[in-house]
Amino acid sequence: MAGKSSLLKVILLGDGGVGKSSLMNRYVTNKFDTQLFHTIGVEFLNKELEVDNHSVTMQIWDTAGQERFRSLRTPFYRGSDCCLLTFSVDDSQSFQNLNNWKKEFIYYADVKDPEHFPFVVLGNKVDISEHQVSTEEAEAWCRDNGNHPYFETSAKDSTNVSAAFEEAVRRVLAIEDRSDQLIHNDTVNLHRKPKASSSCC
């Protein structure tokens, strides 16, 4: 089973401390560690899952949110299939920075068509009672910036984590016909072009 699946690169971006590594750990290993270290540079984990009958290997790239690690993380944006923009609902600054993260990603990932690139927005730490960012505020931002799906998650109590990641996969598969990325592609792109355009319609 493991083999015949497509490999999707999903990257987690957001300010330091918003819980990117915790989200990844929760999703892949179903664990939560309050004492997690800062991520240095870039790390990733693989998660195999099946979404709508597609067997997919999701490669979740966790990045260092701190500004000083910028040069270590940006080279790895390229080739991402989906970007998870993450903020913490108890930190309005992290929400305001989403714009910058999106810009940084588009710039370094060299995204050809930013309009249609799948972003998913995650408001983490909803288990904390004092919210600085309201759901409405976040949804408004998502709507204004390209109609991105928004999930309020908690890595601590596992709220919405799987749903968010699965949505990311769904977005990728929906936006682009990924069949060419399925590995047995001895068949070359002949049918692909017309199909891609048809999906636009």
Binding site: G3, G41, V42, E43, N46, L72, S179
Partner: protein, 1000 residues
């Protein structure tokens, strides 16, 4: 013709338990790496003993197109493809990835130490992303340094491996140390080893070497740039990477370049330009690098199997390093230091493989003709493994024969030897496998991938796949049903000793028929052991001992073959037996135990003669000695005297030996036979017989006899020279003959001066520093035989030193020498006539020792033409001047150095009666003025001082005046006369002088 044997170089085989058909695999150290999951996952299996178990697996970031494991650094490097972009990545710490679901850290090549934390790296797999400006095409890791070479379309990039310490933990990283811009070829394969790089396209191979100093002027950047500008045209023409594209595009004509082989400088005409550009990053590569071409070959496509690219092109490029044996010190794994001795380069066309040796001279070692089209080949130090569609073949290699000669220029002597490099290679085995696709080698294993009947099903598969894609379904089950026919095997190669034994057994099949076959197979087996012994990783002493024992045994077998078979190379029996460490008796036993007792092979006789001639320690038993005599009686009877003189034969029964000699003598009498008989008689203590034999020939003939067999007189043992019983006898009875014989030995280089010295000291039992008289006699006799100048000076030095010692030692034991000074003077020119003034001096005082004649000999030598006085001067310090005899030596030297004035003064002081004799004898043309300028005034002064009473002075004055009056004209004569004195004394000389004038 390729000899085919049916040995068993392959042992057990294991199957790598992959779940899916392997696509790319590689191996190294103890592991096999296989890609699966459509190339996005690497499974690692360890191989130990009979097992092959999964070790770990990890996901890659893209589909692996190519991967390579480096033992040094323990890293896996891949070329991966994702979204049509090829990337180069290195996986380190992959052993941590046991589950496949731990966090993996990713970083760019070129670490900034300060940005890394302590927590990372130790127990986490890391991926190093190595971006390149061009798509990477081929990879190669240097097996010596772990450096990485990446071939792109127009450049080769060298990444040097390094460890940087981050908080005390070594972290692996690379420096992009050099870029080599290439034009004129697009690499299909590359290989990197030490500073050797080889690149290969479909039909071309180029091997070059990076050197830090330019030995010759290579095109520098400024000239290379226009070159580069000009070349693309050519480049693109050649670049059309496959001949097939030519074929498909222009059906009318296909033009190929002529096949060519260029070596060294010649390669410059090959249209491939390599321009190194150092990035200045790596420490050891900071120096400016130059490219020196070693080898270029271009082939014509091989159309034997049709026109497909796969079947006409080169494959399996490989550089194989060989390390110095013995230089390797066992160290911790991964930290071993090996000195490169040689590099071999292998590449293969479909029907022939080529093996070159590269280090000192580039030479083609072997060409392998395959019986059918090859797919891939791997060269190991011991064997070459080649796969064809359905056969795994194993060929022998000549690497060890090349290396041995590289390491030891004296390999082909009577002491040691090795089968020739030019010996035909052979096939040891052809093993059937179905659908062989790829082969790799590591340690004692070869890994082979088979995929059966793949060509037959692809259409069906492709169709179904396309269908499944459209449906958006994966259909793994369906696929695995249709491809049951693959396997990844790990085949152990037979340990060299075991294979060796099998080859020896095999060779015995040829034993009864006299054929070259057994020599060939045994030589192959011998080379196999040699290469196994060269393995720097051979550290287990027991294993090494086993190999060495087998090696000696193989030398013994080869010795047997060469000793028995009539070949042009039967003389090789000698070195092989020597290397086998078998004793002479053992060899004789071996040879005689075979079924050919009646005739002894040329090789055996050569071995036996040589062994008996050499100064071996081994003493044969009486029976064995008799056996040897019988062998020689049959094969070469005239050698018997020499055989008997061998120290090995010391236990021979003299009576038996005498019988053999008498039999021999009955055919032809000779001095050496008589002398040998005399020696045997001595051993039997039959003096009468001895005398009779010695008197049979005149001394001159005896001398020739000794010269023919010096061992009658002296035997060498551990650099010592031991006089024989016969020599001792001669010392007492015929010392002259003995000395003449030794002189003859020296003249004929059978002995040197030092050895002669030793001989006489032992002979005369003179173990202290004293020089035995016989040795002096020998030196003197040697001088009389007109030796070459170097020997002359040497011997004269020894003699003068001896003489000086003797005359300085007043209380010595007088000896009688063989030759008197008179004899010596008559026998050679080196001893000169002693001047009368010297004799006068000697007789004027007490003589040191008349009896020995050493003083006279020394004076005679000093007066002779050969002795260089300057070299004698240091001795003068030891000679006192207390008596006139000793003083004479000083004065002879002074005179020969033209110090007449001082000599005259000394003589006037010490021995005035000799002064006029001295003056008459020594003052020659050109220095006559001494008579009147020096001697005359000195004499006058001394006469005045002695108040005219000293008769000797006055008589000398008279002689002097007479001499001067003959030399000077009147006016001058008058001028030199002293102002005082009685006129009557001087008048006669004036008259004499004017008479002379009148006569004129």
């Amino acid at each position: 013709m390729v000899q085919l044997y049916n040995c068993h170089p392959f042992g057990s085989q294991r199957i790598v338990p992959t779940k899916q058909a392997p696509e790319v695999f590689c191996c190294g150290r103890d592991s096999v790496f296989v890609t699966s999951a459509g190339g996005c996952k690497v499974e690692v299996f360890t191989v130990c003993q009979e097992l092959c178990q999964p070790l770990c697996s990890f996901n890659t970031l893209g589909k692996v197109l190519q991967m390579h494991y480096s033992d040094i650094g323990d890293y896996l490097v891949t070329i991966e493809e994702k979204n049509n972009i090829s990337s180069l990545r290195t996986y380190v710490n992959w052993r941590c990835q046991s589950t496949g679901s731990s966090r993996v850290s990713v970083r760019m090549v070129g670490l900034q130490p300060d940005t890394l934390s302590t927590a990372s790296s130790k127990d986490q797999m890391e991926i190093i992303e190595m971006p390149l400006s061009e798509n990477p095409l081929r990879l190669s890791c240097c097996p010596m340094r772990g450096d990485l070479l990446v071939g792109c379309k127009s450049k080769l990039v060298v990444f040097s491996m390094k460890y940087i310490s981050i908080h005390g933990i070594p972290v692996l990283d690379f420096d992009r140390s050099m870029v080599l811009h290439i034009s004129g070829i697009v690499p299909v394969e590359v290989y990197f080893c030490a500073n050797f790089i080889s690149i290969m396209s479909e039909l071309e191979v180029l091997v070059f070497r990076m050197t830090s100093e330019c030995q010759e002027v290579l095109p520098n950047i400024s000239t290379a740039v226009p070159d580069l500008g000009k070349r693309p045209e050519k480049g693109t023409k050649n670049t059309l990477p496959s001949t097939s594209s030519h074929l498909s595009e222009c059906e009318d004509f296909v033009v190929f370049d002529r096949p060519v082989e260029l070596i060294g400088e010649e390669c410059k005409s090959c249209n491939i330009v390599i321009t190194p550009e150092s990035t200045g990053l790596s420490v050891d590569l900071r120096t400016k690098f130059c490219v020196s071409y070693l080898l270029y070959r271009r082939f014509a496509p091989d159309f034997t199997d049709g026109l497909s690219v796969e079947t006409i092109r080169l494959h399996s490029l490989q550089l194989m390093p060989v390390y110095k044996t013995g230089s390797h010190v066992p160290a911790k794994a991964g930290n071993t230091k090996k000195d490169l001795l040689s590099i071999f380069c292998f590449f293969s066309m479909p029907h022939a493989g080529y093996l070159y040796s590269l280090l000192n001279t580039v030479q083609l070692v072997s060409v392998y003709q395959y019986p059918e089209r090859s797919q891939q080949a791997v060269l190991t130090p011991q064997l070459l493994h080649v796969i064809t569609r359905n056969n795994l073949q194993c060929f022998t290699v000549r690497c060890s024969a090349v290396i041995v000669r590289e390491e030891d220029p004296y390999i082909d002597t009577t002491m040691k030897t090795c089968p020739p490099v030019s010996m035909d290679v052979c096939t040891l085995r052809m093993q059937l496998f179905i659908g062989l696709k790829a082969i790799q080698h590591f340690n004692n294993y070869i890994v082979i991938l088979t995929k059966a009947d793949i060509e037959e099903v692809p259409d069906k598969r492709k169709n179904s796949k396309r269908l499944s894609k459209k449906l958006g379904y994966t259909k793994t089950k369906a696929l695995s049903d249709t491809e049951p026919g693959w396997n990844l095997y790990i085949v152990s190669t037979t340990p060299p000793v075991q294979l060796y034994r099998e080859m020896v057994e095999y060779s015995k099949k040829y034993d009864t028929v006299k054929t070259q076959g057994s020599i060939h197979l045994l030589s192959e087996a011998h080379l196999l052991l040699r290469s196994a012994l060269m393995n720097p990783d051979l550290v287990n002493p027991a294993e090494k001992e086993e190999l060495e024992a087998a090696f000696r045994e193989s030398c013994g077998h080869l010795g047997d073959c060469f000793s028995r078979l009539e070949t042009k190379k039967s003389h090789l029996a000698l070195p092989y037996y020597k290397m086998s460490c078998l004793s002479v008796s053992e060899v004789i036993d071996r040879v005689l135990s075979k079924d050919f007792p009646q005739e002894y092979g040329k090789g055996f006789m050569f071995y036996l003669k040589h062994s008996l001639c050499e100064d071996l320690e081994e003493q044969l038993s009486e029976e064995m000695a008799l056996m040897v005599l019988q062998i020689f009686k049959t094969a070469e009877p005239q050698q018997i005297p020499n055989v008997l003189s061998s120290p090995c034969m010391v236990n021979v029964c003299p009576a038996n030996a005498m019988a053999f000699l008498e039999k021999l003598e009955s055919n032809a009498c000779s001095a050496v036979i008589s002398l040998t008989k005399a020696a045997m008689a001595l051993r039997m203590q039959d003096l009468q017989k001895y005398e009779a034999e010695m008197n049979r020939h005149p001394e001159v003939l005896l001398l020739y006899g000794f010269l023919e067999e010096p061992r009658l007189l002296m035997i060498r043992k551990n650099k010592e020279i031991i006089p024989t019983e016969m020599a001792l006898k001669l010392r007492d009875t015929l010392p002259g003959l003995l000395i003449a014989a030794l002189v003859a030995f020296h003249e004929n280089s059978k002995i040197n001066l030092k050895e002669a010295e030793l001989f006489f000291k032992v002979l005369c039992q003179n173990y202290d520093d004293d020089v035995p008289q016989m040795l002096v006699d020998f030196w003197e006799a040697r001088l009389s035989s007109y030796p070459p100048d170097s020997v002359l000076q040497d011997v004269m030095g020894k003699l003068t030193s001896y003489y000086v010692c003797r005359i300085c030692k007043p209380k010595h034991v007088c000896t009688k020498s063989l030759k008197s000074a008179e004899d010596l003077r008559n026998s050679c020119s080196h001893f000169g006539v002693i001047s009368p003034w010297v004799l006068k001096m000697v007789y004027s005082g007490p003589s040191p020792c008349d009896h020995c004649g050493d003083l006279i000999k020394l004076q005679s030598l000093l007066c002779g033409p050969s002795l260089d006085v300057a070299s004698f001067l240091p001795f003068l310090d030891f000679i006192p001047q207390d008596n006139n005899a000793h003083l004479s030596i000083h004065l002879i030297c002074a005179t020969r150095l033209l110090n007449y004035e001082s000599s005259i003064e000394r003589l006037l002081d010490r021995c005035p009666e000799a002064v006029t004799s001295y003056a008459k004898h020594e003052i020659k043309e050109g220095s006559q003025a001494l008579w009147w300028n020096k001697l005359l005034p000195e004499l006058c002064t001394r006469i005045r001082d002695s108040r005219n009473t000293n008769e000797i002075f006055i008589s000398s004055l008279k002689d002097t005046l007479e001499m001067i009056s003959m030399e000077l004209d009147l006016q001058d004569f008058l001028n030199v006369l002293p102002d005082d004195g009685i006129a009557a004394f001087f008048l006669p000389y004036l008259v004499n002088q004017s008479d002379k004038k009148l006569v004129i």
